[in-house]
Symmetry: C2
DNA sequence: TAGCTAACGTTAGCTGGCTAATGAATTGCG
DNA sequence: CGCAATTCATTAGCCAGCTAACGTTAGCTA
């Protein structure tokens, strides 16, 4: 298990699971959280815009939006000026989730990074940035 | 993007994609690679054993095995002594993939970690271990 | 020895990624 | 002005995870 990539994969899976568990308590799944965070900052974006900001494909956002609509977190509305566009708007429930979900996320981040020394945290952050730039120079 | 968790997610997705691309050139998808690596070291394991070693659920291994069987990488064989067990055996093609896939994986790891300083590498590894232990104390 | 229980693989159905193909609407060019 | 090209969202279908439910086989116990 000395392989960095392997450790990485394992840590990621555990983080995803912990994250999903923390959010699910507030009716939000781990993928939906990302969409919500963008909408909390700027409501009424289109699937394409969200995909761009989240660096995810458009169908991924569309599918998430369908589930979130069914869950009552957002609504779909056709753009008045350009009928090709769909605008995603938060419902009251979607807005209400901001505080608890944000708190849950912060608590998880705190719990996970609490054990790290400042050096470890800084070096990890720097390493992650380098890895991202290596694999996606455009970013 | 200052959030460690966000950087983590992004880096993981890029790594997965790069990994999948590298392996696909040799007819192996990213999830199958993990199964193969265990079988290269020890052939004839059961789905449950593989799931335990990979820290993945049994259905995940079963589904991967089905695709790998269709791809001609492994075969399923019922255990003679205990008919509940299924043993997964490498085919010639599965064995033949070891060298190229291993090389591709090593090349990716090398490329990704090349930019990191020894301190970053060590600190990241240590940080990952701590995170894993925090989220899964049993490990 | 008969029957219950535990172990194991598989199937069904979910989330969350992806690409490719489709269809509707707008834009732009001739 | 009209038609072609572009730009959207959606749908279809794939891989890779998961949990829960199911059926079969061993094994143990009464």
């Amino acid at each position: 298990m000395t392989d960095l990539l392997r450790l990485f994969t394992r840590a990621h899976k555990l983080l995803q699971a912990a994250s999903d568990e923390a959010m699910s308590a507030h009716g939000v799944r781990v993928g939906q959280n990302l969409v919500l965070e963008v909408l909390w900052a700027e409501d009424g974006l289109t699937p394409g815009e969200l995909a761009g900001r989240l660096k995810v494909s458009t169908p991924t956002v569309v599918n998430a939006a369908t589930r979130m609509e069914a869950a009552g977190l957002i609504t779909r509305r056709r753009d008045d000026a350009d009928a090709r566009l769909v605008r995603l708007h938060l419902t009251d429930a979607g807005r209400a989730a901001e505080k608890p979900v944000g708190a849950a996320r912060a608590a998880l981040a705190q719990r996970v990074t609490a054990e790290l020394t400042p050096e470890e945290r800084a070096a990890t952050e720097s390493a992650l940035r380098k890895i991202i730039r290596t694999l996606d120079p455009e970013s």
